[in-house]
Symmetry: C2
Subunit: 222 residues, 2 copies
Amino acid sequence: MDNVRVIEVKRSVFENNDRDADRLRAELKQRGTFLLNLMSSPGSGKTTTLERTIEALSSELRIAVMEADIDSDVDTRRVLAKGVRAIQLHTGGMCHLDADMCRQGVRELGDEQIDLAFLENVGNLVCPAEFDTGASANAMILSVPEGDDKPLKYPLMFQVCNVVLVNKIDVAPYFDFDLDKLRENVAMRNPMARVIPICAKTGEGMDEWYDWLRQQLANWKA
Amino acid sequence: MDNVRVIEVKRSVFENNDRDADRLRAELKQRGTFLLNLMSSPGSGKTTTLERTIEALSSELRIAVMEADIDSDVDTRRVLAKGVRAIQLHTGGMCHLDADMCRQGVRELGDEQIDLAFLENVGNLVCPAEFDTGASANAMILSVPEGDDKPLKYPLMFQVCNVVLVNKIDVAPYFDFDLDKLRENVAMRNPMARVIPICAKTGEGMDEWYDWLRQQLANWKA
């Protein structure tokens, strides 16, 4: 397990992140790789969700993971243990990834065919929402302990996401968390966003998430 | 409750944030106001912790609160309901507060004597740690559901904090959270940081936090 590949990603020399993002999206389309940008607060369960998703889908899809972190490679080690290609992107203190940093990661994944690539972004509800990474879709995880009022406070994150996974739904009885209120708050920011309650630890609700992913890939290929 | 004062804080025209921070710190010392910068991930319990702290200490200290948020004023309304002065700082999408933004907030609190001012920073474990706000001390809340590995992933936040409140300790049995491991991880980043397990909802452990605050104020005044 000492062979974690760590890429020190550099800030783009191009100022135009949106242009970079569109170019990367076109390149990924060409090579047939659907890139999902996964965002959340620290500790919401991104890596656990990815681990279980890989277990469920790796027999039908060739999956790879890029783990962005300011420091450490603990997440990449966890994902590698699931038998898929994974690399660590070190952001050098940066609080988000931009499209060019993401491209550096994609290049390091190599030339083998990848159907579905996950970008686990830096744990942060603010800055990652501001930068188009070139991903085909954006997903976020909100965990129950964080509260149902988060769309009020972090509007952009909810606006840019196609799906909101509500994780740790198993502990809902121990928190003041109202799923209907959350749905309402999400809809206020983004009426198109799909809300899927899950428990990545137990597997509850995960089938709906897998079906959503399969549908996204099918639409994207069509 | 419609009279929440909202300040749209602007980015400093000065490039030197450290100089601004030192100047603000000197001004606050002069007026006898201890400023505590409170940071955490979204939903870790900053506002609940402040509500209970105000209840406990407002008979012995004149307290005021500055609530920084990208949007909404829900936190300020909660704090105002506790009967202390509170203002809302809107950061205009910014992911942190700098010293000049903090000074704009302090000015808006007015001329009345304040012994203890809290700055509730934007919920974010990355960017707020990079900017000295001019505060007399830094505190952070890590909640149990976020996990004991966070000092590995967000090193700077743990390095700059004088105290780490480990909140939602009541739900520890439902999560894979090892308090000893957390203490070890915090110590690796910052051997001087005090770690205090609390439950802001039930009050567990809060006396130790109040004593820590009283001690900080006494040392600062001495």
